[in-house]
Amino acid sequence: MGKETWRSRIENSSDATLGLRGTLLEIIKAENLSVEYYRSQFSLSNVEVSVDQGEIVLLTGPSASGKSTLLYCLSGIIPHCINVSRYAGEVYICGENARKTPFVSIMKNCGVVLQNPTSQIFGMTVEEDMVFGLENLCLKRDEIKNRLDETLEFVNLEKYREADPLTLSGGEKQRVAIASMLVMRPKILFLDEPTSNLDPRGTREILLMLRKLREAGKTVVLVERKIEHILPFVDRIIALDRGEITLDAEPRRFFADEELVKRLGVNVPQVVRVAYGLRERIGLAEIPTSIDELRDVLAKMRSDSV
């Protein structure tokens, strides 16, 4: 294909804005997906997932449950960047079949931030790193500059524009990695354990970023094990166990079955543990999942009886 065809194909289909909240458009769909790696430790069996535009979905589960594998499948990394010995079923990303569409087309819709930021940082400065993808896409200089300025502001890294990303803190490095993906204006952002290596300060920076992404209506799929902090920002939780989806529900319903949740090796937040205890003692009806929710329930209980 000539350079012009490539350019127009990409230019015509990229978003001008960061997306609108509220449109119930199914943006990712996995049907009957079964995948096996050559090493056959990581696999998925008969997975069905549907993600709507603007949703923030959390994938969780113990080690080797398949959560990262699922992330890779939903973003097209499997099968394009990673070879698998078996791929059955279909995944549709923004309406395109993940397996049959060339990776370049999928990639413009999906921004993926992997676990180790160091393996994703290509620039000697934050600016250099962020423009790397745009340069590869042959965007014009003006366009690159606009996107660069806009995204730097969004992730609050303007003061580090000329800094070497590898000298930054964990939270800042992670934001650089996210920024380098956001600048490519993907419709969906995939984050693989964004807070796992971070200290409390870094975690907070990422949570703020998540809130901003949510407000901007971005679709986000993330894998996390420490879910206590992430919970307020999440619309839906999908729990995996040995390659199968065992639970797929919004936070409230997700924690309803205490036995199941414990069996799945999910890190249950303190608030939920308290709620479980109260359910046992005084028959609390619903399981609140955030501090505010539990506070409201308890305050109401106390004021009701007065």
Binding site: K3, C81, L114, N116, Q120, M124, F132, L134, C138, D164
Partner: protein
């Protein structure tokens, strides 16, 4: 512990076009290899140090050269002991004589020359990478008609040398904490020791490489035959001037060399 990393400064050297810097490295390396006079060798090395001062990275440069001192010292010892250049009839004073090893004034001079040559040859790339970002380097390589995929891969690999050293250090700490003795006399234990350090390193390297490859695909690297370069790189007057000086320097050196100057007899 950055050995190869870019050191951000605002200096004349940093602002030079990377192609000119490549030329400087090339010319100085050639000149270095052409001559054997220790005074010239020392002058070349000092010139390098002066350049690092102009680049405002003298301290960093010297601290990075420090690990190379043992190499230079070995060169000195080796050449001094084994180099037997002087004509037996020339009357040169023999300083030391043992079996087939003869050390005389000429050998010492030659040894000195070699050790400075080592320092210069090793110091040139160090200076280069301390003053040139890998992106600028790739740009230069592309303009020199090198395929940008190759150019990038080369430049990236160099950057991650430092990362590799860090990983190595972490693995060493983990294994030493399990009682691994790094200096052991028993021959039986030694291969195990090396495996305990190398195998985890290889695994980490493989995993890192996998992630790296995926990351590059995610940023559309290589998807389109050409690419935009956000960072502009045009040759300015200064660049042409320096380039001209370098070429003249090279030609001059070749001439002098052909006349037999600057080498030891």
């Amino acid at each position: 512990m950055k050995l190869v990393g870019y050191v951000k400064r605002d200096s004349a050297i940093h602002r030079l076009d990377p192609r000119v810097k490549i030329a400087i490295v090339g010319v100085l390396s050639l000149v270095c290899l052409m001559f054997t006079n220790p005074v010239i060798m020392m002058a070349l090395f000092l010139f390098l140090v002066i350049l690092s001062a102009i680049a405002r990275i003298a301290v960093v440069f010297l601290s990075r050269i420090l690990p190379m001192i043992p190499v230079a010292a070995s060169a000195f010892v080796l050449w001094t002991l084994f180099f037997n250049y002087s004509n037996p009839d020339s009357g040169a004073r023999a300083l030391f004589h043992y079996a087939f090893i003869t050390v005389d004034q000429a050998s010492v001079m030659y040894g000195a020359a070699m050790s400075f040559r080592v320092l210069t040859i090793l110091g040139l790339p160090l200076l280069f990478f301390a003053t040139t970002t890998f992106n600028a380097l790739s740009l230069a390589l592309v303009k020199l008609r090198l395929n940008y995929i190759i150019a990038f891969t080369v430049a990236l690999s160099l950057r991650f040398i430092d990362y590799g050293l860090e990983e190595m250090s972490m693995i060493r700490e983990a294994q030493v904490s399990r009682g691994l003795k790094l200096r052991t006399r028993t021959m039986i234990e030694r291969p195990q020791n090396i495996i305990s350090l190398l195998k985890p390193l290889m695994e980490r390297f493989m995993r890192f490489q996998e992630y790296l490859a995926i990351s590059m695909d995610l940023r559309a690297f290589g998807a389109i035959p050409t690419r935009t370069f956000y960072i502009e790189s045009k040759m300015k007057i200064w660049d042409y001037l320096i380039l001209a000086i370098m070429i003249l320097f090279l030609l001059g050196s070749i001439l002098l060399r052909l006349r037999g100057w600057g080498i030891m007899v």
